[in-house]
Structures are given as C-alpha cells and as structure tokens.
Symmetry: D4
C-alpha cells in the first residue's frame, strides 16, 4: 500500500465507489504496512546512492548469488562485505563488472553515480595486522562517495610516525581509527583534532587481548572527548557511520 493507492482509496471514498466503513477497515492496517515511512526505508539507499549491503559471512555462494540477482534488478549499487575470493567469483558470474577490493574483503557492483562529499575522511590504523579492518572502513567510505586518506602503521609505540602525518590527520573532517592490542591510538588521535573520531577495536593480539576486548574497553574509556566506538572488527560499520557524518 503506497501513496498512490492511498490517493486512489480517498478518491474512491470521495466518489462513493468505496464506503467509509470499508475504507476504515483498510486504513486500520496502515501503521504496520508501508506508507511513506517504510518507503523511506526501502528507498533511502537509492536516493542517497548508498549501496545495498550483503554481509557474506555465514552465507553460501549460492545464497549470495541469489541476493545479488534480485538486487541487480533494481539497478542499485551493491556491496558485499567479508567476501573471500570465492564470493567474488560467484558474484562475477552474475555481474561481469563486479570489482574486488581484496585487502578490504569487499566486492562492489556500481550501477548509479554516488554523490561526492567535498570533505575528506582519514582512516588511521595502528599495525599492519589491522589493515584488513581499516581497508573495510576505507572502501566502505569510498563506495559511499567519500575521499579517503589512509594513514597506516602509526601505532602509539612509535608516536613520531603518527606526527609525521599530522597534516593529513588535522585536515580530515571525520576520522576512523582502527587499532587492536591496547587500542590506544584512538585517544591520541582524538587529542590532536577537534573532529569526530570513530574508533574500531580489532581482534588483533593474543592472550589478555581477549580477541579485541582489551582494545574495545580502551576506546570506550578514552580520556579524550569526541569518540564513538563500534563493534570489534566492524570496519564496515565505522566506514558507514563516518560517511553519514561526512555528508
């Protein structure tokens, strides 16, 4: 039931071809259906040029191909996250021009132009093992129409490496900071800038890192202000939030 249907219903009430009682019965179901509000949900991605997103983990290649087939009919942009090479090859069978960002484990199918943001997002990461998560964030930002500056391997144990990139860091409009182990980078970066920082703890580490818990707690307890935290290894979520902020 959409606006057109609703208008037709009201016209029918007006011209007497539908009784008030029948119209009432029909309208009673409205809140749980899809007028306007729900539509916004369905259509907002398309309006923004945002991609439809498929979380590949735990889905079979066949399931993913089926979903891609349906989405491609709407001529929409598509992004499959946590995608290994087999996922890419499966999607490519359906859509020949799918592009694979291997480091980010993301497959992208582009059908519509994306509105470009004028301000940059900086994606900053601590160690080389954090790069897959950082790339997931960076590519997500790019697919959503942002210019991304990557500042990698600048962990706090050698803080001069971070400072050598201060120009990039200080001119960014939004920052995504990705760090495992002790996750201290988010606090240091946030102390240098006065822009929003999205912090992504990673599961990089061993022993008392408890698969990312250590970095997660560090980021939540930061003494710096202006930090929002996402789930462990959730590069996509951080990139998406950064893109929302940067519009």
């Amino acid at each position: 039931m959409d606006m057109e249907y609703l208008r037709e219903l009201l016209n029918n009430v007006k011209n007497g071809s539908v009784s008030v009682d029948d119209a009432l019965k029909d309208l009673k179901k409205l809140p749980f259906e899809d007028i306007g509000f729900a539509k916004i949900d369905h259509h907002r991605n398309i309006r923004n040029g945002f991609p439809e997103v498929i979380y590949s983990e735990g889905k079979t290649i066949e399931q993913i191909k089926e979903i891609v087939k349906k989405l491609i009919e709407k001529n929409n942009n598509i992004m499959a996250t946590r995608a290994d090479k087999k996922v890419y090859e499966g999607i490519k069978e359906i859509v020949g021009d799918a592009v694979y960002y291997e480091a980010a484990r993301i497959v992208v199918v582009k059908r519509r132009e994306i509105l470009k943001s004028k301000k940059t997002i900086a994606v900053v990461s601590a160690g080389t093992s954090d790069i897959p998560v950082a790339e997931e964030a960076a590519v997500t930002c790019e697919v959503m129409g942002n210019v991304v500056e990557r500042v990698y391997d600048v962990g706090v144990a050698g803080i001069h490496r971070l400072f050598a990139k201060s120009d990039v860091i200080m001119k960014a409009n939004v920052l995504v900071v990705v760090a495992g182990m002790e996750g201290a980078l988010a606090s240091v970066v946030s102390g240098l800038v006065d822009r929003p920082v999205i912090a992504v703890p990673t599961s990089v580490g061993y022993g008392a890192s408890f698969r990312g818990l250590s970095a997660l707690l560090t980021m939540l307890n930061s003494c710096a202000t202006g930090i929002g935290v996402v789930n462990i290894d959730n590069g996509f979520g951080a990139g998406y939030l950064a893109a929302l902020i940067n519009r």
Copy 2:
C-alpha cells in the same frame, strides 16, 4: 487520532469538505501515531483487569505519589513493586485503602475486579532468603487473578522436603521456581512435572555466586525441558509471565 477521527476525516473527504490532498497529508502521519494497535496497548491492561505497575526503586516518594495520582484517575488497579514502607505510606496519603504486602515489597490499590483463573500457580523457593523474591512473584500472580500455592524452603540439599509437597507441585498448571546460590531447584522441579516452569535466579549467596550469576547460569543450562528464565531477583517478571500463561 482515533477511529472516530478517522471516520470523520473519511466522511469529510466523501462530502468534499476536506480535499484528497489534505487528507493524504493527515494520513501520512498515521503510522507513528496511535490508531488501533497503539490503543490496544493503552487499553489492554484495563480490559484484562491487569494492574498498572510502578517500579519504585530509584524513584522519589514524590514521583511515585504523582504517578499514583494520575493512574487513580483512570480508576485502574495499581501495583507498586520494590516498595519499602515509606513508599507505602506515601501512596496511602493519596489512596487510603492501599494494601501493603511487606514480604513481597508490593503496594496494591484495587479498583476493578480481576478475572479469576481456575488453575493454580505454584511458587516454589529454595531458602528462606529467597522468600522476598518468591513473595514478589506470588503476590504479582494473586493481584493478576490467580490462586497461588506457596512451597517454600525446599532446597535440593534436603530433597525429601520438596517431595513432601509433591501433591501441590504436581497439580499446579504453572510453576515459578525461585532459588539463589546454585539454583538447582528449577531443574529438579521441572523434572517432576510436565507443565511450564518459570525460573527466577536470586542474588542470594556470596563469593562465587557473583550476585546471582551462578544461579542464572544453572537455570539457563538446565538439563530439564520446559524452563523459561527471567532476570536475577525479578520476582515480578516471573509472576507476570506465569499469570499470562495461566489465563
């Protein structure tokens, strides 16, 4: 906006006093307002004779009195949980015939008759320290129209005490089992009956009971079937769920 308003709107569309476009604009707001569905929410307690519930903890006496004043206008039954004596005295200033169930820490104001259930609910508890939570469950059941059989102090360390009450336990339609420390009672009771058991872990215990975590985990991992678990010390929630089942 209610059904009457909606009927009027449609009539106005029909007779031309409201244009289709204006009606559309009005209807667009519907899903977020309260036709029908939301109404059900507002009115379901009244229809069932269920009480309005006030969780007293963390509220001042003045706040509680203010809420009671508003609720009493609707001539509804009221139940204040986690209520100490001061809460009772505060409510009594507003409603002279408020009744205080001290062991259950519940104040009840009765204004409407409650539909009585024909089947009984058994409230079973392990130790004497579990009684406040058990009473919270039992009185909640009673206020919601149920006959309650109390079987207290029948912990598994002296299992013959439980068996001495087997008649009561086996004829109940629903059972609420309240236990702290190791919380094993729920498994044993559930193994004896083939009716739903609502298990309430309590924070009774010390050391490795971790304020109820031990009993909670025990109940969630029960090898017996037919057990639903509620939050630690949540006697009210268990009583409410048992009452829903027993209708």
Copy 3:
C-alpha cells in the same frame, strides 16, 4: 512396581500369603523406585503423544541408532535434534519412514497421533542466520501437535517489516522470538502483545556479541514484561516450553 503390584501386595498381606515383614522389606525400597510418581515420568510422554528426544551432538551414529532401536520398540514418537545428514541416514537404516527437517536439523519418527492444539504459536526471528534455531523451535512445536506461524527476517533495524506481520503476531497464543547480535526483537515483540514470549538468544554475531552473550543479556534485561529466556541457540527448549504453554 506400580499401583497394581501394590494392590496385589496388600491383598497378599491381607490373605496371609505374604508376611508383614516381607511386605515391609518390599515397601522400603519404594521411594527410590517407581510407584506412580516415577511412572508418570516414564509414561507422560506417551500419554501426551510427546516424542522421545535424542540430542545428537556428541553422540556417534552407532549410539544414535542403538537408542532409536530401543525407543522404536515402545512404538513411541521420536525426535532427534542437532542432527546432520549422516544422523538422518543412520536413523533411516533403522526406521525407513523417518523424516528429515534439514533447516531445523531435526529427524522425526512418527508412530502415534499427537493431540492437536487449537491455538497457534508464532515463531519470529530477526535475521536469516537465526533461521536454523528458529526452525528447530518451529518443528519442535509442530511435532508436539501445534500449528506454527513463521515470521522470519523481521529484525528491529527495519521495524516496518515486523509491523507488516502484526496480524500474525497479535493472534498467536504463544510466541517464540529468536534473535542474535543485539537480540532486541524480543522486547519489541513482547511490547506489542499480551501473551507469553519465549526468547531464544542465538550465537549469531561477532566481536562483542561474545557468541550469544550479548543477545542473552538483552533478553534477560528486557523492559517488556512477559518474557522467559532459554539458553543460547536452544531452539528445541523454546519450542518445547511453548508447546507446554499452548496445550
């Protein structure tokens, strides 16, 4: 030893063919054997038409086949949960007409008619990855004689999808809500209905979901009333409890 045996024993005491001392010796063993009470346990499933349940995980195919062989002699209904294809094939060698519910990972052998309940159980699930657990609950309910309505993929992030199914949800007598990640669906569903909700947290998620802990805590702390929680991924337990309530 059952009532008939007991009556015979007493008659024998009465007519002198058994001495009081011998009868005493026999009776002394009673509490730990099976008069009445224990019998109920042994026989209750049969009386209810409830199936005997085999938890397949951690058992070899040979062990499962052995158990099925014994149970089939009693001409009882049988249900094997957490059963992969090999378990099904093993059981089929014993019982040719065993049926495999693949999505639910359940094998069913039907020998007796099950008493049908007149009221429906709704099984509601959040994401597609929650479906195996939801199906385990749904098939369990069906095998125990219930009509089940499935409402899948209605997670709270797109709440209009849930509302589109409000008719189904609101007419159910009992609801099973299955959700991983943040598990918020149980609270929202419970807020819409005034019937018992059995909440099943799933281990779907990553990072700070801590293999289902996040969803479990969410469900235990629900601000909605009328929710009983079962163990993580325990679709069978939820279905069994729902079936007990729905009788």
Copy 4:
C-alpha cells in the same frame, strides 16, 4: 614559545644578534613544547566557543573552586559535569552568575557567545531513570551551541510512543539515544533514520544488567548501521561528539 617568539628568534638570527648554534639549541626543544600544534590544543576551545570542562566526581569543592578561578581569568565558558548541589554552590561563590542544570548535574558559566548550529540534535531516552544521563547529553549539546529536541520515555516495550514522535526524530541531523536495561532503543531509532546515532548505555537496571554491560553490548552489536557507542552513563561524551558532528 610561540609564533611571535619564533619570528623574533629568526629575526635575531637574520640580524646576527643570535648565532645559528644558539638558535639551533633553542629550536631543538620545539617538538616537545608548544609551537602551533600545541597552541591549537590550548586555543581550539576558545576559537570554537566550546567550554572548558571539569569532571567534578572525585574532586573536592576546594579543588573545583581553584580550577574555576583559573579558568575564569581567561574569560572562557566553563562547564562542570557530575556536579551535585554543593559543587554548584561552591562555584557560585566564585562566579555569581553560574547556572545549575540540576537534572543534568551540570554547572555552566557563560562568558563568550557560542556559534549556533542550524540543525537540531535529538536526544532520545528509554526510561525515566535514564533522564539524568540524557539531560547531561542534552545540556552539553546546548552549551556547545546546538538546538536540542528531547524525546524521553519512549522505550521499545511500548514502541507506539516512539512512533508518535517520528517527526522530531526524522528531522534531526544527529541523534543521541540513551537507554539502560536491554538498551534496544538505539537499534530501533537507527533503523528509522539515515543520520548518525550516538548511543549511550546507562547503568539503569539490576541483576544481569551488570551495571550497564547489557545495554553496552546491545548497542555495540546493533544490527542497524550508523551507530557509535560511548561509555556507560557518559552523557557528556555523547553530547560532545554529537555537537562535533553537528557543526
């Protein structure tokens, strides 16, 4: 050492009154002192009209008064968080026109005009016990120059209350969602909008809420996209981040 000093030093090198070696020695200390970069830190609040913030908890009234005395000399705006009435009275002795936001536990001293943002921030909270944290966020936003719309007491157990405020929610540029217990509100709100949501878990609840852990995990594991999480009860941090985003 600031830019003026640096310019003078260079001029002195140029005119020969300081030798190159002495200038080198002086410059060597630069990176760890405060040219430019550090200044930005010191001055950024002033430039933005942002207040200097005092976290009152764990400080004596005397300590707080001392800090206020120093800050007031710079003629800056000041904000004291987690401030009880005694803190307010202490500050008032120093600054007569200090304003106390009791519900938010914030004292504000205003000395400079704050740049106003044109877009609104919505602060949404679940229960009445969450209001102190919500107010901390709301007042922080206001003190930093934002228009705030408050949407309180709209927990997911009665989701129609949230929908009744959909207009406010959908027109906000940034949203702060405050919820304790199961914390599900953040997911539901984020599913309704396509703007950044800052989620604040609160320590409201008991038992298995583990003083806010339950709500924290819920928010981190949200199935909705576009959510950044701050520490438990950190209304100030959420408000500050929202204000940064809303500039």
Copy 5:
C-alpha cells in the same frame, strides 16, 4: 510416617481393620514423605553429634532467636556462623551458656558430647587478613569433634615460615588451606603432603583479585594433586568437609 507406622498399617490390612484401598491411598504418598531415607536426613546430625547450623548473614536477630529456640528443644548442638556480637547477645538471651568464638564469628551451643577423632586437622593460612576465614574453618572442625593445629601467616612470599612448621603440616590427616590474593599456598602445601587438602580462597586483596576470583582460579588450576576447593570465604564449608573426611 515411619517403619513402625508402616508395620502397623500392614498389620491393620492383614487383620482387616484397614481396607486395601485406604492403605493404597496412604502408601501413594510415601515416596514424597519420609520413610527411612528421609529420616536419615533428619536424624543424621543427631547421631553424629554434628551441630545444627544457622547461617546468620541476612537474618534478623529475632529470626535467629526463633530458630535457636526451636533447635534447643531437640537438645541438639547448635552452631551459628557469620555471627557478629549482636547475634551472640541475642542467642545468649535464649541460651545462657552459648559460647562466642569472636575471631571465627561463630556462636556455639553445646548439648551433646561429640565423638572425638583421633587424627588432627591442620588449618593453614597465608596472611593475617585470612584469619577470620581460617578460624571459621578451625572452630567448625573443633565443634565437630576434631583436634585442630593452626598454622597461620605462612604465605608463599616467605616460604621458610611455612617450612618451619613442616612437622605440624606433615603429620595432619587432613589440611585446610586458606589464602586470598594469589592463593598459591594451597599448591605448595599440597605438594608437601600426601593427604587431602581442602582449599579456601578468600576475598582478601584488591584490584585484579576481583574479590577472591584470583585465588579461586589459582586453587582450581593447581598443578598439585589432591586438592578440593570450596567457595570464596567459605571457611565453614571447608571445615565441615575436613571433618567428614577426618571421621
């Protein structure tokens, strides 16, 4: 209902004064009542001369006095644990010759002679702060008829102090080892002897001792064999178990 009753019943059946049907009705209740087996439970303490135990924490003085009054009628030994001075004074009003072991927080009322064990129990503790728990264990052992050797303040950080007491340690039949903080003493003691060691973690410590969790885990993971662990601070439980072993 006891053996005598049962014999009488059978005799009545035999002589016709009770019908078989009435006898059956009577016998049906047997398993859940108290023939033999349950009796043992009721009477075993008396037979052993073991005291009846009252856990004082969370009980009012009035409740404790009431319980003591009832127990004293049976002329049994009584032991109240976790008893502060007020508990002692309350009990003394009822039983003039109650004895207070202040360091152990135990009140003892002695009415029957206790069977003495010939072998000694050693109670070994690490630090001075562990003494209340150690004394609870020691006095429990003594009240149950054992000779106790106390070896206090012999923590592993100064292991020569422990070795100076090797004679006492090596001639004990059972050992209770009480330690907080890192709880390493149990492993060291168990490595020195070939007798059962009951380990009691205490909540002594701060920070990462997590109120006894650290010592608890240490004791459970001991590389030494022959250690059984009880709950944190459970001196009574350890003493009771040691006394059972030492009989």
Copy 6:
C-alpha cells in the same frame, strides 16, 4: 644427600677426616636439597603403590615413550591420562602389557601390587556425555587400589533414576559426582549422604554453559555441605583426591 650421607658426614667430622668448615659448607646447601622431606616426595608414590602419572595432552608420542622408559626402570606403576589410541600404541611398544581403558582415556602399566581399600568409592554422573570424565575418575580410583561403584546417567531432570540407586550411593565412603550443563547433581547427592563428595564440573553443554563455567559455579555455590570441587573436566584430580580420602 640423604640420612646415610649425613650420618657419614657427621662420623667423618667426629673422626676428623672432614673439617668443621668443610662440613659447614656442605650443610649450608641442605635446605635446598633433599634430606628426608624431599625424599618423601620422591618415594611416597612407591611406598603407597601409587602410580607415576603422565598427563599426555600436549606431549608428543616420542616424549611420552621417553618418560615411560625412564619410569619403568624404577619398576613403578604408571598411569597416562588424556591418552588417545596412538598414545596407547606408543606406550605398548615400550611396555607390552600396558592396558588401555578407552572410555577413561587412560593407559595403565602395573608393576607393583596396590594396597586395597576396604571401603567403596561411588562415581556418579549426570549424562552420557559426562562418562569420559567419570571414567577417568573411576579408573584413577581403581588404579590407586579402590573398589568403585559406577552410578551413571542419573541427572536431576529425572531424579527417580538417582533414587533407584540410593543403596549404592548411601553405602559409599567417598563420592565423586560428575556433571556438566547446570551441574546440580552434586548438591542433590550431597544432600542424601553424610560423606565427602568430590564434585567435577564438565565442559558438556553449549551456549551459556561457557564450557563448564556454569557447572563449576553451581558446585562452588552448593547449598549442601561437604562438597570439594576440582577443575572442569578434571576426572583424574577428583579420583586422586577421593583415593587419598578413602585410604
């Protein structure tokens, strides 16, 4: 250095063949070497006929064979725990008459007669999945000279099965209770007897059992007295402790 050596040394001092200074130098090393006390450690197993124990997990077959070779020279009994079939075959190459207890995952090499205890140990277990741990305990007891009564598959969800074995349970001198999931069996058994109970939590279960944590906490918090707990899945430790008690 042993007593004989010491006597010789003193004799040499006496007859002047060793100077006082040289003897002093020699004696100074005593406390850290092995007079008497340490010897007891080395020899106590042999004197008791207790086996030398090899924990196989994490050792290569070659390492285990090497250890067996050395131990066999002393003509001692040997027991290898957590031993799979390959470990058994490896040991058999060294010692032809090694015996494999497959269910217990234990290999035994017998060289000396073991002193038999007159009293029995009961090993009680809840579910079939707990049997490997139960068997580890039972075989350990047997290898150490005890008569073991096995009472398996008597979980609390069908408590009549436990009671049917009450004769066995009540005549045991020590009891080992093995249970996973909610681990309630230990409390129930301990409530039935007045003998020491060694409780072994197992990692059997899923979800909120957290690999044995649930059963562990249950056993530590038991409301029954006389229970000592060992590490999760530590059947050997429980058997060893039971054997020490049963001597």
Copy 7:
C-alpha cells in the same frame, strides 16, 4: 638455628660431647628452619636499608601500633602504606618522629640511612585522580633511596603536555607510569624511551572501566616493548620494583 649454632654442633660432634644420632636428629629439622637462606630473608631488608612494610588496609589502629612497636625494636626503617590520618596519629603515639606523606597515604619512620641510587626514577601519571597512586609509587621509591622526578597530568588526550617534559622522561633510568581509564599512557611513554617501564593501572574511571580492568588490559597488551605491569592501584608494588631495578 644459625651458622654459629651449626659450627658449635659440629664441634661438639667432633669432640664427642654430642653423639652422631643426636646431631642427626637436630639436623633433620634444618631444611624447614632458618639456616642461611631464611636468614637472608629476615635480614635482607636491614642490609639494604629497605623499610619493613605494613599494609594498613583492613588492620585496626591497635594492630598497626602493635606491629610498629615490634619493628621499632630492631631499629629498622618502617613504611605503612594505605594509611589514613588516624593510622598516622596512632603510629605517632609510638614513634614521635613518624612522617606522614598525605597524598601518598604513607607513614614513614626512619632509623637507618638508606643507600642512595645515582640514577633517577620518573613517576609519570595521566590524570589528577591518579595522583594518590602515583605518590604512593614516588614516596616508596624515595624511602628506598631514589631520586624521583614527578611528571603528572600528562594524559595522552593532550600529548603535547607529555612532550613538554621529554627531557625528564628521557633521562630517567626507570619509569613508573600510572594511568586509569584507558591507560594508554604506558604505551606512549615506553615508545619514547629505551628503559624499563613499570605500568600501574588505576581504578580511576567509571562504567566500562570496570574498576581498573580496562587500564590493566591496555597495559598488558601494549604494542610497545619493555613494560612490566603490576596490580590495579598498586603504587607501592610499582615503586618497590622500580627501586629494585634502579639499585
């Protein structure tokens, strides 16, 4: 029993006034008494001029006074940690010249000169609330003969403040870093120096700091090398370890 006694014993054996058997009996007790090795323990503090340490928390003023009385007899230096004003006043009654370091909560009694170390220890702390723990570390170092440089309030959120003190930091021989909340300071400091860093997590923070757990995990997972961690709030332990390293 000391070396002199031992020499005398041997002389007596030599000259026949003690028999070999009697000497043997005497020597047998040696390992568990105190020759040499144990003496080192008793005397090492005195030799080093290190103070005897009293942990005041959980001790009564009377107990502390008693301990001081005994220690003062040996004319040794004394240090009481976690000492509030009342502890100080109590000690002062015994020793008139006791000195109270209020910020450090330490009372010092000086009787012997302490060997001074030539190299400095830097104590670095993040926030003002961390100062009590930092002072505990600093005063401990000083009492043990070290020159301490304090670098306070240099948290990573304003990293230029830390760099402004780089001279002090880089010339220290050992560094103690004290930080609560996210505890990131230890990593940053350790990255700047190539000397040992002792990291002290503090319980400063709220919510997900879990009373110091967050800072503790951060420090254990540091990506910087050369960090040793002590217990939460253990300023004394850190100072003691730093002093050992700095000798």
Copy 8:
C-alpha cells in the same frame, strides 16, 4: 628534516636567501616531523646493538621475506619471533646464515656485535609445556647480549626441585618466571630473592585456567613484592624487559 637541514635553514635566514616568513612556515611543521627525538627512536636499536624484531604470526612468508630484505640493508641484527620452520626457511633464502632456535620459535640474523652484560638473567619455568615461552624469553635475552641460566620444570607442587637450584636463582640479577595453570611459581621465586622478577603467565592448562587468565591473575595479585607482569605467553616481552633491566 634533520639538524643539518635546520642549520642550513638558519644560515639561509641569516644570509637573507630565505625570508623569515618562509622559514616560519617551514618550522611550523617541525613538531610532527623528526628532529632529534624521532631520530633517537630510529637509531636507538642500532646504537644498542639491539635487534629489529619481526612478529611472524599473521604474516605471510612473502611479507616476512620482504621485511627481512629491507632490514638487512641497514646491516642490523634481526630477530623473528613466533616463527615456525617455514618462516625460517623463507628467511634463509634471503640470509643464508640465519639461525633457527626451534624450541623458542625464533630466527636470528646477526650482523653486529652485541654489548655483553656482566650479570646473568635466570629464566625459571614451571612445567615442560611452559618451555616454548621460556625459551622465547631466554633466547631474546641472549640475542640482546645477556648470559642466561635456565631453571626449568621446577613447579611449586614439588618445591624441593626449585630449592635444589637455589644457587642459580639467588645469584641472578634479573629473573624471568614462566608458569601456566595456577602460576604460583612467580610468588615463590620472588619471595626467595631481592631482585626484579618478570612474570610471564602461559596459556598452559585447561578448564578454569581460561587460557592463561588464571596464571595472569595469580601473578598480578602476588603477595610477594618486586614482580612485573607481561601478557600471557609473551616470552619475548619478558626477555626484552629483563634485558633492559640487566644493561
């Protein structure tokens, strides 16, 4: 930008070839670049003869070979930790004289002489399963120029084995103690010496060892003074810290 560049800049300002404004612009970037301070970081390893360290886990052989290629150009010592045989073979293709310490899982390439320390480091470990971590620490110490004494398999359950090595332990300048399971060894060793002890918990154990958590907590809560703790299994970190202390 280095000192030479800076001198040139100043000379150019002096001789007028660069304007003061241009110089100012250049100098403004200084703090984030690398004068002096940062250089120290780059060069400190070379000056000390310390190796460059590669953490092999999570890196491909190709990545490791690439890193080695770059490092070898600087003619520096290299150490690859957590290296299996394939890593060694890969490095050997690049550097023919690479040496593999298999037990320590470390590959070493030596190019410069390392300054030798005169004092020894003792590496003490509890069980045979702890040896890989102990060897990682020991080899790290050796590569950094230290003499290491290994004292293995001296767990506290047989404490005489530890005492038999007291000479080695007591003459060490620094001690690294490696222990899993209950980790009690660190406390015992630290109680015997008055030198710094670096404690390394290992993940050796099962059940309630929670992969090293038990040993970690034990070490953090040690009642002995002078212990610094590193992450679980972090042999390299412990060795590095010990080497820093021992210089």
